[in-house]
């Protein structure tokens, strides 16, 4: 279980996250959605302790995040940063197993886990010996996901995992991600700016604007019972894009 308790975080006086409270139950799959710059990434950064809140508390399974607990907490969280963040000087394999190696996992255990993850994410084995610069965008995202999953973490938090991919690959990967989430059965916190993707991958959608939660509910709630004008506009903007896209191609 993850709890944000009245968390505020400012950058140079601008509130990226504004007195935000949010509870995510174990096993829940939640999508954070909202316009660019509304504070989605910052919220995930707070959870892994990349930034420290100005006010409020963050609790993971009831334990407050503090400088003493943050390193252990990070190792229990599978975090996939926006744009992947793969280390260019390491092969895919070394990127994925870096932390396991640091923790002293024996070679055999690492190889076994790597095999399982390659199967799960459908990454061809030969790709493991390539450097990030030698992989396609889709392959890089798979490797980044494998790295996040390596230590069998819970929760899994993904920041726009499919952001920079072309539509066809994106659709494929959406299917795969859904399947992976179902197989793992872990708590998932997913950031996306695409309402359709949020509805497809998550059970619960949290819509943010300017560091605050605007609406928290299902896709149906957002469409049928918008909490404010902003929600209506946001849903319609996404809708119009879908419609425009379909008419444009027919």
């Amino acid at each position: 279980m993850i709890e944000f308790d009245a968390v505020t975080m400012s950058f140079a006086g601008i509130r990226a996250v504004d007195a935000l409270s949010l509870t995510i139950a174990a096993g829940e799959r939640l999508a954070l959605i909202g316009p660019s710059g509304c504070g989605k990434s910052t919220l995930l950064s707070l959870l892994v302790g990349l930034v420290v809140p100005d006010a409020g508390r963050i609790l993971i399974n009831g334990a407050a995040l503090s400088p003493q607990t943050v390193i252990a907490a990070r190792r229990r969280i599978g975090y996939m940063i926006q744009d992947g963040g793969l280390f260019p000087h390491l092969t895919a394999r070394d990127n994925i197993t870096l932390m396991a190696g640091e923790l002293g996992w024996p070679e055999g255990r690492r190889a076994e886990r790597l095999d399982a993850l390659a199967t799960l994410t459908r990454l061809p084995q030969p790709m493991l010996d390539r450097y990030p610069a030698e992989l396609s965008g889709g392959q890089r995202q798979r490797v980044a996901l494998m790295r996040a999953l390596m230590l069998d973490p819970d929760p899994i938090i993904l920041d726009e995992p499919l952001g920079a991919l072309d539509p066809l690959i994106r659709a494929d990967l959406q299917d795969e991600l859904k399947e992976i989430f179902a197989q793992l059965g872990k708590t998932v916190l997913l950031v996306t700016h695409d309402l359709g993707e949020a509805a497809f991958l998550a059970d619960r959608i949290v819509l943010m604007n300017q560091g605050r939660i605007v609406q928290d509910g299902s896709f149906a709630d957002l469409v049928a019972r918008p909490a404010s004008d902003f929600v209506t506009k946001f849903v319609r903007a996404q809708d119009r894009r879908l419609v425009a896209g379909s008419t444009g191609s027919s």
Partner: protein, 501 residues
């Protein structure tokens, strides 16, 4: 990886350094001009004849530097002139006679030999024919010839104990003399453009150009008797060696010194071999000829030069990388560190070398310390900027994985900054090799030695003997670094820079 290389270099250099130090024994210094170097070489030969290790640190620099080196014990003795002691070094004290001079030296733990047999002072000179034709033999004869044209060096013209005093002492004509450069003066004299010039009494050109020096019959010029100046404690430490060297008292007359200067300056003979000949002819001591062949000279200087560069560079790497890591983590402290090392960088290398002498004496140490200081900044700056230049997403990824700060540095940040750090080391190495040529000024040897000697002797070949290997070493180093860069840089990083979109 880098640390391992640094340690290896450090160990290697400490090994060569201690080997050099163990051989020192009695240390002779000499000033940066031919006569001093020759006497130093002769003294070294005589010292070696007594059987102990003797080192001659050639052409250390000017009077002040040699004096300081002697007082600090960096050297045990050097050739000096009584006039210089009285009028320059101890100018603040009243020293009316030799006794007072000896007392002043003794107070400082020093002693001087009796005169070596010649005096090197200002004199006026003419061509032999002219002097004969006009019947001029002494300075007082000049006052009878108002038509005579003087061509005097600018320094002599302006010194109170030069022309103004001389003219008053001898009642010389008031016609204003022509100011000339000392080296051009000889040419002006032999071509007949002037009749009288000032010179040093042991100048090589006196013999070569058939000149006479006019007798100072009113004893206007102070005596600049050549002596050996030495530390009293050297008497106790090397009694036999010093006794052997002091055989030089009264052993070199003026014409012999002029001849030896001429052999070095006009015939381009090596000082060591001139010294060997003198010691054989005068004392019947046969020493091995220390003048080496070109190849072994270059090899020796290469070793000296490399050891200066390697020790200082290894130390700079070992200090600058941790400091750079520190500076990258604490930007506020970083500004202070950068400012200090930036200021050090702007100190002219010559000044920095001279600053080091009171602290570290003469020889390799001050040179290594100065080179170390120069090498720190490029490595420090590149380490810091390399670390600060890491993409925020990569830094965040490393943190979010749960790596501890130290492991993050080792596994992610340093490898990503490696190309920048490496470039910094390369810059430092190339600067270091060039600057190390100045090490010869403080007795550190290296490629600077033949360059200095070449400038002093106006011998272009000798300058090239130092300059060419120095340039070659710099180019070679650059090429070696380029190669190593390709081998050391992680393949993934090369791919990344290669595949610019």
């Amino acid at each position: 990886m880098i640390t391992r290389i640094a340690f290896l270099l450090l160990a290697l250099c400490l090994a060569c350094g201690s080997a050099v130090a163990a051989e020192a024994g009695l240390v002779i210094g000499s000033k940066k001009f031919t006569e001093s170097v020759i006497i130093g070489d002769i003294a070294a030969d005589l010292g070696r004849a007594a059987g102990t290790n003797v080192t001659h640190r050639q052409e250390l620099g000017g009077t002040r530097l040699l004096w300081d080196a002697l007082r600090s014990g960096a050297i045990d003795l050097y050739p000096e002139y009584t006039g210089t002691l009285i009028h320059e070094i101890l100018a603040g004290e009243r020293i009316p006679d030799a006794e007072a001079l000896n007392a002043a030296l003794a107070r400082r733990g020093l002693r001087m030999s009796r005169s070596l047999g010649f005096s090197d002072t200002y004199a006026l000179g003419m061509t032999i024919e002219n002097a004969r034709r006009l019947g001029i033999a002494s300075l007082s004869d000049l006052s009878r010839h108002p038509e005579i044209r003087f061509g005097l060096s600018n320094e002599f013209l302006n010194r109170a104990d030069g022309w103004p005093g001389l003219r008053a002492a001898y009642g010389l004509p008031l016609r204003s003399p022509t100011g000339l450069d000392h080296d051009l003066a000889y040419r002006a004299l032999t071509s007949g453009a002037v009749d009288v010039i000032d010179l040093y009494t042991t100048d090589a050109e006196i013999a070569a150009d058939h000149l006479v020096t006019l007798v100072d019959d009113r004893h206007y010029f102070p005596g600049y008797d050549a002596v050996i100046l030495y530390r009293i404690d050297a008497v106790r430490r090397y009694p036999a060696v010093l006794a052997s060297i002091l055989r030089l008292e009264g052993a070199i007359d003026t014409s012999t010194m002029i001849t030896m200067n001429a052999q070095a300056r006009l015939e381009h003979r090596d000082e060591a071999s001139i010294a060997t000949d003198f010691v054989r002819d005068r004392f019947a001591i046969v020493t091995e000829d220390h003048s080496q062949g070109l190849a072994s000279r270059v090899v020796q200087r290469t070793l000296e030069h490399l050891s200066l560069t390697l020790v200082s560079l290894a130390a700079a790497i070992a200090v600058a990388i941790p400091l750079g890591v520190f500076a990258a983590r604490y930007p506020r402290i970083a500004r202070g560190i950068m400012t200090v090392s930036g200021v050090i960088q702007t100190i002219p290398s010559l000044a920095l070398l001279v600053f080091m002498i009171p602290l570290l004496g003469i020889g390799a140490q001050p040179a290594i310390a100065a080179l170390f200081l120069y090498s720190v900044l490029p490595i420090l700056r590149n380490t810091t900027s390399g670390l600060n230049g890491i993409a925020p997403g990569l830094r965040a990824s490393a943190i979010a994985l749960g790596l501890t700060p130290w492991r993050r540095l080792r596994r992610v940040e340093l490898p990503l900054a490696l190309p920048a750090i490496f470039a910094g080391i390369k810059t430092a190495a190339v600067i270091n090799i060039g600057t190390a040529t100045l090490g010869a000024l403080v007795g550190a040897g290296g490629y600077g030695q033949p360059i200095l000697a070449g400038i002093r002797l106006d011998d272009f070949g000798l300058i090239l003997e130092g300059a060419v290997p120095a340039a070659a070493l710099a180019l070679l180093t650059e090429a070696a670094f380029d190669l190593a860069e390709r081998l050391v840089a992680p393949r993934g990083l090369r791919l990344e820079t290669g595949s610019g979109i």
